[in-house]
């Protein structure tokens, strides 16, 4: 078929030495950047955009794509080692990943993350190769009602993910939802909870919240806790997951790939929901859900696979429809425009070597990442051996300066400090930051989608059920919400078994 020829041609393009070199450079830079909190792939690509002026379009995009998924992996590293989620989709990884690191199993966590990411990315690329047009039109059918249903499902999952006191987790989630409303209302232009500050007019960005609550909060907490008991730095005992770890995670990886691939296509937020769904799915499937939050390997494998698959499949709307799915894709869009190439429905026909070159570079990039992570994991894990008293201020400083680079604003740095204090207090009082941050991310999606849907329906909410996709999602929501209740009822039923018989006999 024509396609197969193009795919082969694409590989030829990628394996050209220049492109291969730029792929390696991109992945390496991406990984290093991903390790720096605050400096996300979007900012990095913006900084490196001038570098792309002088080189071929294919080469430029290969490098930028490499930076993108390299940064994903770098973000995983900080999530596991330093409890700092680099992106919304890494928040879930922090839960079990960092717990594993504290048990001295950072290598296991990072290794599984690398393998899972590789598998997820590869599955997504294969899917992209064969299913791109089909899947892209599916993304177009996702309108505001579908997003609303999805966000609702996500909020429900948030409570599943929490491992501590239920009510406190819900309170944290409610706080997260409230925090998401800060800023200018997208529908009426009214300022909500901004108290006149122009900096808050656009709302609060995810990164300062996550960096503050998770990163600084933990650092401040450790300042106190360290002195209570002399904390031996986590003794790093293994650098690679064991065979049993791999076996345990295989199911999670498979499920995560599929979830991530499909959810990643949805413009705006697919990757986060994918990682949450993967985590929740693993937790529900597990025979002993209480392991989650304390170092369950599936809790790292599932989400990491999902978010890498999602990151890869988020290229699909860009390359096939010309619609960027997130901020980084928007930058790639811009980069392509600068090169004189307009991504869109015609890209595949007009520039097949570009399309396939980029797609195939992802295979290569994923392999490079996996190969590089073998020695690098050992290096990164040694960071944990540095004495806490020295590591803490360095981490704090990197976090603060990284926060500045988000939007060149001191206000963001202040936000990080404020949320750091909040994170410390939350920890002292027994509230988990996870539900707050996840609800925060989903909150604006939920509100805006519901309001848009109501506008589309003219105020009539039955529209949610008459549209096929949103009806399915809402049904899923009901199922997921009701399932635990059904399960606990079922567990009680054997004790009542005799009664139905008697009733039947009397009928």
């Amino acid at each position: 078929m024509d396609n197969l020829q193009n795919v082969m041609a694409g590989f030829e393009v990628v394996l050209e030495p220049t492109n291969l070199l730029y792929c390696l450079v991109g992945v390496l830079i991406g990984m290093l950047i991903g390790v720096l909190p605050g400096l996300g792939p979007a900012a990095t690509i913006a900084i490196l955009l001038p570098l792309t002026y002088g080189i071929e379009p294919v080469t430029a995009i290969i490098m930028l794509a490499g930076i993108f998924y390299g940064a994903q992996y770098g973000g995983t590293i900080t999530s596991v080692l330093l409890r700092l989620p680099g992106e919304a989709s890494s928040v879930v990884t922090v839960l079990d990943g960092h717990a594993l690191a504290r048990q001295g199993k950072a290598g296991t966590a990072l290794g599984i993350a690398a393998i899972g990411s590789f598998v997820g990315g590869t599955v997504a690329i294969v899917g992209l190769t064969f299913l791109a047009p089909v899947v892209a039109s599916f993304a177009l059918d996702f309108g505001p009602p579908e997003y609303a249903a999805l966000a609702l499902l996500g909020i429900l999952l948030v409570s599943t993910i929490a491992s501590g006191a239920r009510v406190k987790a819900l309170v944290a989630a409610a706080l997260g939802l409230l925090l998401a409303t800060v800023g200018r209302d997208a529908f009426t232009g009214t300022e909500r909870f901004t108290f006149g500050s122009l900096d808050l007019a656009d709302g609060i960005d995810f990164v300062p919240v996550a960096m503050g609550l998770f990163g600084l909060g933990e650092i401040l907490y450790n300042l106190e806790e360290r002195h209570r008991a002399v904390h031996a730095p986590g003794k790093v005992t293994n650098v690679w997951p064991s065979r049993s770890d791999l076996r345990e995670s295989s199911g999670a990886v498979t499920r995560g790939s599929v979830l991530g691939f499909f959810l990643g296509i949805l413009p705006g937020g697919g990757a986060t929901i994918a990682s949450m769904a993967a985590y929740a799915a693993e937790k529900k499937r597990a025979k002993d859900p209480s392991r989650f939050g304390k170092g369950a390997i599936e809790g790292v494998a599932g989400p990491e696979t999902a978010n890498n698959a999602a990151a890869t499949s988020s290229f699909i709307p860009l390359l096939t429809l010309g619609i960027p799915a997130n901020a980084t894709m928007a930058l790639m869009f811009g980069a392509l425009l600068i090169q004189g190439i307009t991504p869109g429905p015609q890209l595949v026909d007009q520039h097949p070597e570009l399309f396939w070159g980029v797609v195939n570079s992802m295979y290569v990039g994923n392999i490079l990442l996996l190969i590089m992570s073998i020695p690098l994991v050992g290096v990164f894990v040694r960071i944990l051996r540095v004495r806490a008293a020295i590591l803490a201020p360095i981490t704090a400083l990197i976090t603060m300066i990284g926060a500045y680079t988000i939007n060149n604003s001191v206000f963001d740095v202040l936000l990080v400090v404020v949320f750091g204090a909040v994170g410390y207090l939350m920890k002292k009082f027994g509230f988990e930051p996870g539900p707050l941050v996840l609800a925060f991310v989903l909150g604006s999606l939920l509100e805006e989608s519901v309001r848009r849907s109501l506008l589309l329906f003219g105020g009539d909410p039955t529209g949610f059920v008459t549209r096929p996709i949103s009806a399915v999602l809402l049904a899923l929501f009901v199922v997921v919400a009701v399932w635990p209740l059904v399960q606990s009822a079922r567990r009680r039923r054997p004790a009542q078994a005799p009664t139905p018989d008697r009733e039947e006999a009397s009928v």
Partner: protein
């Protein structure tokens, strides 16, 4: 023991190196050689602040311009993104910096002409706060319909009045203004559905989640070319060179010219010679092939008028929009 020793030496060397870097000069207010003499402009890098996120059209324009200016001025022109409130944050920040030519901002017309209609007085930015150096380009809005809606021209849209949902790129944007005024003038009733930016609005209309939407031409063109959306009309004053077959709103009899313009500005009070030098470098930058082909690729129409003309134009537009919204009783802020 030796390890610590080596570390100490390394640390000391590093410290010395750091101090020698002091000669490089920092970027803290007052830290730069804030000289009285503008004799040697430019004496350091010229920072161009953009009030939008990286990757958007405003940002790309800034980068293309910075590239060219850097070549002409002989110093680096780094682009700094400072998104917030449609550019209000960046503009206010730069307006507060010393007017010595080392800080510039890329202005969006919509911030001056349209946003004030949707936000409170103290958040609106006025052109009085800055010195406009030069106009750059014009980006037109085009009203597109989804394929499934079956609309081919404005009459079809009018026939569907009452059942129409139209997407906008946000509150206080040209997209919202253009459609609100057009619909009011043409007597079309529809429900406005705001999205966060052009991209989701375009996606929605491609997927027929809304029937029509007004999008910036650069974003919409690939979809138009692919046949996924149908252009109904453009909101420019004259027919757009990239869409020669699409009528303008003015042609159809509706007085609603809405376009996005970009211009370069600096803090108020720039010395005349610095201003002249900067304008010179802009002229050099926009004349270059790289810039002109950039405009073509992004479907931007060059609009390189002088700073005074920009102020005139934008002030007139702001007044016009104020009158239009008052006349048709439209409130952008709902």
């Amino acid at each position: 023991m030796r390890l610590a020793h080596r570390r100490a030496v390394a640390g000391a060397t590093a410290a010395v190196a750091a101090l020698t870097l002091a000669a490089c000069g920092g970027n803290v207010a007052g830290g730069t050689g804030g000289t009285e003499a503008s004799s040697e402009f430019p004496s350091g890098p010229v920072t161009l602040t953009v009030g939008q996120d990286a990757g958007g059209s405003t940002d790309l324009i800034a980068r293309a311009l910075a590239d060219g200016m850097s070549g002409d001025l002989g110093v680096s022109v780094p682009v700094v993104n400072r998104a917030g409130a449609n550019g209000a944050v960046a503009t206010q920040e730069v307006a507060g910096k010393p007017a010595d030519g080392s800080n510039l901002v890329l202005l969006n017309a919509s911030l001056i002409t349209i946003t004030p209609l949707a936000v409170s007085e103290d958040e609106a930015v006025s052109l009085d706060d800055v010195d406009v150096l030069k106009g750059l380009s014009q980006d037109d809005y085009v009203l597109v319909a989804s394929k499934k809606s079956g609309f081919e021209d404005l009459d079809d849209l009018r026939a569907a009045s009452g059942e129409v949902t139209y997407g906008t790129t946000g509150v206080g944007t040209g997209s919202q203004l253009a459609q609100a005024v057009l619909f009011a003038q043409a007597g079309i009733e529809g429900t406005s559905v705001p999205f966060d930016s052009g991209s989701p609005a375009l996606t929605a209309v491609v997927g027929d989640q809304v029937q029509v939407a007004t999008i910036q031409l650069g974003e919409a063109k690939p979809q138009i070319d692919a046949g996924n959306v149908v252009p109904l009309l453009a909101f420019s004053a004259e027919r757009n060179q990239f869409l020669p077959d699409v009528p303008t709103a003015v042609e159809e009899g509706y007085d609603v010219p809405v376009s996005q313009y970009r211009a370069l500005a600096a803090p108020k009070g720039l010395p005349e010679d610095v201003k002249a030098r900067l304008v010179e470098s802009v002229d050099a930058a926009v004349a270059e092939d790289a810039y002109t082909s950039f405009n073509e690729n992004n479907l931007l129409t060059p609009h390189e008028i002088s700073g005074e003309e920009v102020v005139e134009e934008w002030t007139a537009l702001a007044e016009k929009y104020q009158d239009l919204t008052a006349e048709y009783d439209i409130s952008l802020a709902e």
